[in-house]
């Protein structure tokens, strides 16, 4: 079980929220939105792999 992945995603979330705040306060709303979206895509890419692994495991275990 990779608990470090939870910390990785939490760290990405914190970094994205800090960047979002900084960019929003300096009047760069578009860049702030793009940064948030980029962070979301990065986390989603990490997550998709894990979801696929889980589904494969369930398929194998329950004989699909």
């Amino acid at each position: 079980m990779e608990i470090d992945l939870i910390f990785k995603i939490a760290a990405i979330g914190i970094i994205v929220s800090v960047l979002n705040q900084v960019l929003s306060r300096s009047g760069r709303e578009e860049q702030a939105t793009m940064t948030t979206l980029a962070g979301l895509v990065v986390v989603l890419m990490m997550l998709t792999q894990k979801i696929a692994e889980l589904f494969e495991l369930v398929k194998e275990l329950f004989q699909f």
Binding site: M1, I9, A10, V16, K50, Q63
Partner: protein, 132 residues
């Protein structure tokens, strides 16, 4: 082997606390964090369930049950498990309607999987009624 359980419990608690901290800024990453923790805990649960499935297989062979019978049951359990967790996550994301739709999909899939069994049962009933 039990250390997997302790790791899972600790990971879930940490994810819940970190999710609370992240939810103040943006709920999207917090939701993804909870999805990841759920995935990891379910993967750990599957590791525990693997020997149980081997035991079920032995029971089935000892009782000389039809292989399709156990297969339908196991598939139904797998579908229900995944649909339940995914539906709850949809509910947490504030989209309870999607969660309900997923549960309906799961119920339909389970019905479709058990269709051969139901047809067999119908054939048996017809046979019994024909003999009477």
């Amino acid at each position: 082997m039990t250390e997997l359980f302790w790791k899972g419990a600790a990971g879930t608690l940490i994810a819940a606390v970190l999710g609370l901290a992240l939810a103040k800024q943006g709920k999207d990453v917090a939701l993804l964090l909870s999805v990841l923790a759920g995935c990891m805990v379910l993967t750990a649960a599957m590791t525990y369930l693997a020997p149980v499935m081997v035991f079920f297989r032995r029971l089935q062979q000892a009782a000389q049950l039809d292989e399709a019978l156990l297969g339908v049951l196991l598939k139904a359990v797998g579908i229900s498990l995944v649909a339940q967790i995914a539906g709850l996550i949809c509910g947490d994301a504030g989209n309870a309607a999607l969660g309900k739709a997923l549960q309906i999909l799961a119920a339909a899939a389970v019905l479709w999987i058990s269709l051969p069994l139901l047809e067999e049962l119908l054939g048996l009933i017809e046979k019994i009624l024909g003999e009477v």
